[in-house]
């Protein structure tokens, strides 16, 4: 399957910030129209989101916690896209990363300064293998990464569910794994929060105490670090130059002496390791365990949206991840505030992506306005 035409690359690699901004505005406009048709006041609904996101320090903290995995899976998808590869497999890479972190976090005993990096490293390795498989069979056998990663997503899901049936790892009958060790967690003040001093602090400090009511953790620091690393690797290193060259024009890159096949594998492995890290941080900072997955959780699929809205850059993914995190967290509140369905958020996000997919339409709209 030759899905990625040159047009796609041109569009995805050079899409401008302005176009994204217009798409976001149009997305909210369509969302407003849908709300209006359904008999709700869109201004009230959007105001409920804004209030639900910004009116308490705790809310802001929650948005960041929601955004953290989305930023990183967004980076994963974006990184692969810069090499001209469509990583639909972030979902599965996330799952194997979470599983690896949960296993390493539960079985291994180490001091925290070693345990945390080890868990993240193992999760990134698992993700890299998962992404690397797709990269390898693309490079070697020409199987398109979209189809192989869809398969790998399901294999990851069932593998993770299977691991929970093992006596030593899963808490039998609960469909959940054992909790990871304290030394594998990246929570901030997790233990201290439940001491008397901690409870007293939360009660007496208005802003900080409120923030501490949410499961604050170091995840966002890692997300920002990864975003910086991605920017650095892509823009400041030879490797990044080569990967981007393959993304722009694989034939020219090959002619210029770049090993395209190796680049494909490298790119998918790095993308996989990022998504794997996202899964690890979610386990280490928020859930502290993994649970049986009846369906895909969607972190990887949401990451695709984040990457597309974020223009496939590091900073763009941070911005888009925060936007998506805010919509997810704040959007859940419009149900209570105005009675409008939360899912208007999905319609907004879908519309934004649809407009991002067709810059031609936006150009037409703007031309006709001028003329």
């Amino acid at each position: 399957m030759n899905l990625t035409g040159s047009k796609m690359k041109k569009l995805l690699l050079t899409g401008s910030f302005g176009l994204t901004l217009i798409s976001i505005l149009l997305g909210f406009l369509v969302g407003a129209i849908v709300l209006l048709i359904a008999g709700f006041n869109p201004l009230e609904a959007y105001w409920a989101i804004i209030k639900g996101v910004l009116s308490k320090p705790k809310y802001v903290s929650y948005v960041i916690i929601y955004a953290t995995p989305l930023i990183i899976t967004g980076l994963s998808v974006a990184f692969a896209l810069r090499t001209g590869l469509f990583n639909i497999g972030a979902e599965g890479q996330f799952i194997v990363g979470a599983m690896a972190a949960a296993i390493a976090g539960y079985f291994i005993q180490l001091p925290i300064l070693l345990h945390v990096p080890l868990c993240i490293f193992l999760a990134m390795s698992a993700g890299a293998v998962w992404g690397g498989i797709a990269g390898h069979i693309k490079a070697r056998f020409g199987v398109h990464e979209v189809i192989s990663t869809i398969m790998l997503n399901w294999i990851a899901l069932y593998l993770s569910n299977w691991s929970l049936t093992l006596q030593m790892f899963g808490k039998q009958g609960t469909g959940k794994s054992h909790m990871i060790q304290e030394t594998a967690r990246i929570d901030l003040f997790g233990q201290w929060k439940i001491t008397e001093a901690g409870i007293e602090f939360i009660r007496s400090h208005k802003v900080l105490g409120d923030i501490l009511k949410s499961p604050v953790n170091l995840g966002i620091i890692f997300a920002l670090l990864f975003a910086f690393l991605m920017w650095y690797i892509l823009n400041k290193t030879t490797l990044g130059y080569e990967l981007r060259a393959v993304g722009f024009n694989p034939d020219a890159a090959e002619y210029g002496g770049i090993n395209v096949k190796k680049s494909i594998i490298t790119s998918m492995s790095i993308a996989g390791s990022l998504a794997g890290a996202a899964g690890a941080l979610q386990v280490m900072g928020v859930s502290h365990k993994i649970a049986k997955l009846a369906i895909m959780e969607g972190y990887g699929f949401d990451g695709i949206a984040v990457a597309l809205i974020g223009n496939n850059t590091g900073p763009g993914s941070v911005f888009a991840g925060l936007l998506f995190g805010a919509l997810k967290y704040g959007g859940a509140k419009i149900q209570d505030a105005v009675g409008a369905p939360t899912e208007v958020i999905n319609i907004v996000v879908g519309t934004i992506i649809l407009f991002i997919a067709m810059p031609k339409l936006i150009q037409v709209i703007f031309k006709s306005r001028k003329g």
Partner: protein, 318 residues
């Protein structure tokens, strides 16, 4: 012996039941991709179809009307995909991703409005009927719960799916229209030169893919089960897409692949019902592993329609 035959009947019957939604959707995939347009929004269209089918069947108490509306609902999102991809040169995969958000989002949005804030419909009074039901039971031609009953006493959607595989095959390979669709998918420039309206063919094919995906969704919500819920369609559209590629972009190939995925589900349910201590998750994983292996081993990259994913701009060529 009799028990084994009965078990076999159970497995075949379950396989048929779970394959059906995939077959419809996969056929949709065949139609659109043969015209050169990728549609990874099938998942969202199926999702919407599952909801629309269940909602209409619930309110009208008519499962056939539900099935029709599911197809039309899917076709609507197909139209959106066609407008984006054919008229506005949208990147097809990106548009497909958007449609997955839109299809699922709009289904849940409307569900909450119609069903008191719930992300699932109520149970429909009448499911899609089992047309051969009159043959089975006490004093009928075949006993109930026998092999014949288990295999052939199936929902009408099962028979419809098999029939449509034949129809799509016939149209694609034996009619002028099908030849045009394939020509547009292989070489739109040449097709255009020959006077084929590439835009119209692609619009038709993409809308039909939504139509079929909608049928697939309803085959799940008002036949396999009797209501829509937010977790009912979870990746089935993607599996159907994989089955289509696994089947080398052919309707009959897609059918075989869908039956394989359905059979894995059938075995999983069978072993679960027997309490056999086989890891169900490993079994469920098998068809995906097998697909990967077969993709690597047998399906080269050359089998896809040549012009797939490429934007056709008449202005550049005429």
């Amino acid at each position: 012996m009799e028990l084994i035959i009965q078990d076999l009947g159970f497995i075949i019957g379950t396989t048929l039941m779970y394959s059906t939604p995939l077959i419809f959707t996969s056929l949709g995939g065949v139609i659109t991709e043969r015209s050169g347009v990728i549609n990874i929004g099938l998942e969202g269209m199926m999702y919407f179809g599952a909801f629309a089918g269940a909602a209409v069947a619930y309110f009208s108490q008519n499962p056939w009307l539900g099935l029709l509306c599911a197809a039309l609902g899917g076709a609507f999102w197909g139209l959106v995909h066609a407008i984006a991809c054919v008229s506005f040169s949208a990147e097809q995969i990106v548009s497909g991703i958007a449609l997955n958000f839109l299809g699922a989002g709009s289904a849940l949005f409307i569900s909450r409005l119609l069903f008191d804030g719930a992300t699932q419909t109520l149970t429909v009074a009448r499911k899609i009927p089992q047309p051969l039901d009159f043959l089975f039971g006490e004093g009928k031609m075949f006993p109930s719960s026998g092999f014949m009953d288990l295999v052939f006493n199936r929902f009408a959607t099962v028979y419809l799916a098999f029939f449509l595989v034949f129809v799509v095959w016939f149209v694609l390979y034996k009619t002028k229209l099908g030849m045009r669709v394939r020509a547009v998918g292989e070489n739109p420039e040449a097709a255009n030169t020959l006077g084929i309206n590439v835009t119209r063919i692609r619009y038709g094919a993409v809308i039909m893919s939504g139509f079929f995906a909608g049928l697939g969704g309803a085959a799940m919500s008002i036949a396999v089960v009797s209501r829509f819920s937010n977790t009912l369609i979870s990746g089935h559209g993607f599996i159907a897409l994989a089955a289509m590629i696994f089947g080398k972009w052919k309707p009959q190939g897609a059918l075989v692949a869908c039956l394989l995925f359905g059979a894995a589900k059938g075995f999983e349910i069978f072993l679960g019902s027997k309490g056999v201590p086989v890891a169900g998750d490993i079994l469920a994983m098998l068809p995906y592993v097998l697909t990967l292996i077969i993709l690597v081993g047998f399906v080269g990259k050359t089998t896809a329609p040549a012009a797939i994913g490429k934007i056709f701009d008449k202005g550049d060529h005429s």
